[in-house]
Subunit: 335 residues, 2 copies
DNA sequence: CTGTTAGCGCCTTCAC
DNA sequence: GTGAAGGCGCTAACAG
């Protein structure tokens, strides 16, 4: 076994195969047909390359072609099915296009978001997808400054094209479904608690709007106290729900959990209750989790269509609306 | 706002700041102190760089220095807390070292595993961590052929240094704990079903050994029929459990679920049962999931120490045991 | 059909 | 203190 320290280059292959570097390069790129290189030469070169264990140095190729072959994506973390799905769809689609996916998590920390974006841009990624950050605009600015295309995924921003889920529509559908369940169970339809997420976030705002719109159609209007959106941490949701329970002396009939981390927290509190308590409530949640679906209480979740989100984003970078920042809305699915 | 197509280079900065490319390079690398460049020159260069929105081209730097600044990791997916945790710990640690993390998922598909590894090697990653693949050895060979260090994370292999969780020890602890719970509840300690995972996998083998060893200490020996390890898919686990339930007409007293996807499937079947059924069983599982922890039945999970796994792996690439392939075992935590 | 040449953007000796 | 020159590995004109 050769234990050469240095990796073989096309010059090594040229040496061994007694061809010129150019010939080797063309053969390796499969362009030898076009340049009418003798098949025997080609196969000989290929054989030598194989024996040397040659692999292109993408760095050098990238420098020469000024195409890195890298596709970048930033997202907050992988700890739930939504972001995990985004990451996996992104990777699959990138591979499909012979790009190397680089996805990096930011923990929703603006300073990490900036650093990561900088790193990715320095690596000359061919485009950047931005998901679940605090505010996409500064990152969008960094990209345009570097002349790199970017698209905001699932959170809109004025500085770049955005692809988002139909949060408003899904919230309406979900609420409608829950109202039906409450009525069927003989439970009141005007006794709700909406919690989790961040009020300023577009998705939260849209979901609240959809929720309210559907309730309004049923003649229900909720007081501000029925809404508590104070962050993504499960712990917060758990406390908020416990607090609400303390105030009412029971669970609200309808629980609208804005975000799966919130449901995680809520589950912690619900686990302390009895079956009777569970029977008197119906739960709606964004997004979807396989374990949550097996809980002993009634919970209906919305699964965002991550494949569509990613596919649409890729279509967008292919056909980039230079200068414009359209907002594309993708429907979600109910579970 | 400048909308130059081409990204600025150090030559652009040299032009604007009226210094030479060398000076610019040294300033940008923070080596100007060492080269006794005038502070005013330095700050002026820095200012110009900022105004131009300059960012180093890592491709070019990598080519020149033959250091890519990239750290690679492959894993099967992000859909559970174990792999999500591995990915996030890896990223954090890589960032700590000013490396750009590239983690790619393979869906446990050997052909994707090979392709991904090839891609990562072509990108000149400085080292590669390999987790949750089918068989690490071919990938290890690719790495050594390319002269790139690699370490197997949580699955050992003879071709590279490996860092794994103490599956045997944790399984023993977990089993001991479950036996205690069964005894306390007046349930039999010789009525078990062990399912999920893949028999050939090292982790499964180790867990079975630990499980059996602890039971043996309690004078219990299980028939082969008590073990069913036929894959990682939740669906399979669900079927196996349902089947076993059908055979016995009830749940086994002790359920040992090998892998969180298995628990996901098991949850699906358990959800169809009554509270009485739940009360007559105690569940043990690898690994940990926040929702599973809130289930209405008794489940004890092992949380693998992903931070330690990653930290140990990084230590290993720093101080690489050239030629040797040690096996380092890291303890896990019970929950 | 194949070889020569000139960079891609950056860093690092070595002169001045 | 600063600048000039060469080359990392690869590719795409051009010449032969």
């Amino acid at each position: 076994m050769k234990t050469t320290k240095r990796k073989p280059t096309i010059y090594d292959i040229a040496m061994v195969s007694a061809a010129s570097p150019t010939t080797v390069s063309m053969v390796l790129n499969g362009q030898w047909k076009k340049h009418r290189i003798k098949p025997e030469t080609a196969s000989h070169v290929l054989k030598c390359a194989g024996e040397l264990g040659y692999a292109v140095n993408q760095k050098a190729r990238a420098l020469r072609l000024s195409r890195s072959g890298l596709a970048g994506m930033v997202l907050p973390h992988y700890r739930n099915r939504f972001f995990a799905g985004l990451a996996e769809s992104f990777e699959a689609e990138a591979r499909e296009r012979n790009l190397c996916p680089i996805v990096v998590s930011t923990q929703r920390d603006p300073s990490i978001e900036a650093r990561v974006t900088e790193t990715l841009l320095a690596q000359q990624v061919e485009f950047l997808f931005i998901a679940g950050v605090n505010d996409p605009s500064p990152l969008n600015d960094m990209c345009t400054a570097a002349g790199i295309r970017c698209v905001n995924v699932d959170l809109p921003g004025p500085k770049a094209p955005s692809v988002i889920s139909d949060n408003r529509g899904s919230a309406m559908e979900l609420t409608e479904l829950l109202v039906g369940k409450l009525q069927a169970a003989g439970l009141p339809i005007d006794d709700w608690f909406f919690f989790g997420g961040v009020r300023e976030d577009n998705s939260t705002r849209e979901r609240i709007e959809g929720f309210n719109a559907t309730l309004a159609r049923h003649g229900v209007s909720l007081p501000p106290s029925a809404f508590r959106c104070e962050g993504y941490a499960p712990r917060i949701a758990e406390q908020l729900l416990a607090e609400r329970y303390g105030q009412l002396g029971r669970l609200p009939a309808g629980l609208f959990v804005n975000g799966i981390p919130g449901l995680e927290g809520a589950a912690g509190f619900l686990a302390t209750l009895s079956k009777e308590a569970w029977n008197s409530t119906r739960i709606a949640a964004f997004d979807w989790d396989p374990f949550a679906a097996q809980m002993p209480y009634d919970v209906t979740m919305v699964r965002q269509d991550v494949e569509a989100l990613i596919a649409t984003s890729f279509a967008l970078v292919d056909d980039y609306p230079e200068g414009e920042t359209p907002l594309i809305v993708v429907p979600a699915k109910l579970r």
